[in-house]
Structures are given as structure tokens and as C-alpha cells.
Amino acid sequence: MRITINNTSEQIERDQLTVNELIRYKNYTFKLLVTKVNGQLVKTHERDDVLVREGDDVQILHLISGG
């Protein structure tokens, strides 16, 4: 499927993935993320349930400590 991740179009070699599967697929190693799919916030506990499909717009923000 072709999806958009943080405004960049990407080809993912799966038909669909949960948000958590996508995070693993992309090898995102940061522990704390904020995720949105098609503009909707997907909270941490929802990431195993929400699916990403062809054409979806995914936004992932990673957060690190310091301030």
C-alpha cells in the first residue's frame, strides 16, 4: 500500500497494518510517540486496534525528555 507518513509518500509492503505494526515496520525506536491517522488522534492504547490502509495519512511525532 502507499501511504503518507509525516507528509512524505511511502510504499509499505503490506496491504494493511495496525498503527503499532507500522511503528515496528518503520523501526521507530523512540519510546514516546503521538500518532494520528487521517487527522484523528490514535492514543497509545488504541494503536493495536486502529488500522492503516492504502491512501491513509499518518502523522507520527516522537518526544524525548528535556526541558
Binding site: L32, V34, K36, L41, L61, L63, I64, G66, G67
Partner: protein
Amino acid sequence: MNWVTIKEKISNKVVGIAGCGGLGSNAAMSLARVGIRNFVLADFDVVEESNLNRQYYFRSQIGKKKVDALAENIKLLDETISIVRHDLRLDPVNMPEIFGSCHLIIEAFDRAEAKQMLVETVLAHWPDKPLILGVGMAGTGNFNLIRQEQWDKNIYVCGDSVTEISDENPPLAPRVCIVANMQANLTLELLLQGK
């Protein structure tokens, strides 16, 4: 835009400061200097000696609540600035009431977990309220890695996004203040645009 006009345009704006540590204290002081007249400050911590390498506090303020110490310092600039203080730990339940009146929120927590909670709460309650995050400002040097990014319609990120605090990478005034002032600069820009 001249100075008088800038001050006029922002005089009624309310800025929320979520966390009064290195980012929050420095951003608030810069904004107070340029004419922000209404602040909502939230923090549960007290000033410690170890904070003085980056936070806008002084030796004589050690032991004071950060919200009180920061309010004191802002008032030294201008006694007529309005400051609402919340000496508490922000959570998804108390936050909507605390920051409801703010036109814009500066995220200035130290822990990534708290940053995540704030982003999710703002997205859930106020998709139209600008939120400016500070992410990645530990250590020294690497100035060119620091940048400003718009992540979402109203969510902005200032910092290098990679340098996490650690024993080897402590947060220190120069880089922390750069990021705090990027947050203040963007706050001013957005408020002048009418946000």
C-alpha cells in the same frame, strides 16, 4: 510592525506555560519583556540549586515554588502583568480548566511522558489552539541541528528532536535558552497573526 503596534496587538493575549523549568521560565521572561501581559503558569516543583545552570531563577529563590519564583521575576519587569499560578502536577483532567482561557500554550515539561500527555490533551480538547513544544535541547554545540517545525495544523516543535537529557548530555543554559526563545519567538509570530 513597530513596537507600539506589536504591544497593542498582544496586550490582551493569554499565554499558558506548562512547566516552569528551563524552557518555561526563559520563554515566559522573554514574552513578558515584549509585551505579553497575561500568563497562566503551571508547575509542581520548587527551585533547586541544580536548576540554576539554565532556569531563570536566582540563588535567593532556592526552595521557593517555581510558579511563585517565576511570577516574582515577571513582576520585577512589570508589576501590572497578570499571572495566574497553578502549583500542581498537570494531568488530562485538570488541564482543560487550567489552560482553557489561553490563546496559546507553550509546552515546557522535562519528561517525554508529560509532553505526550499534553499533546494528546490539547488535540482532544482544543484542535485549534496553538501548542509549541520543545523537543531536544540537551548538551552543547550542534546549533545547526536546532530547528522549528510545524507537525500538525496547530502543533509546532522547536529543538533538535534528538538529544535527550542524560548524565553525558545535561540540559544547559545556552541550548535550553535558544529553544525557549524559539518558542517565545514563534508565540509572538502566531499571536501577531491573530491566533
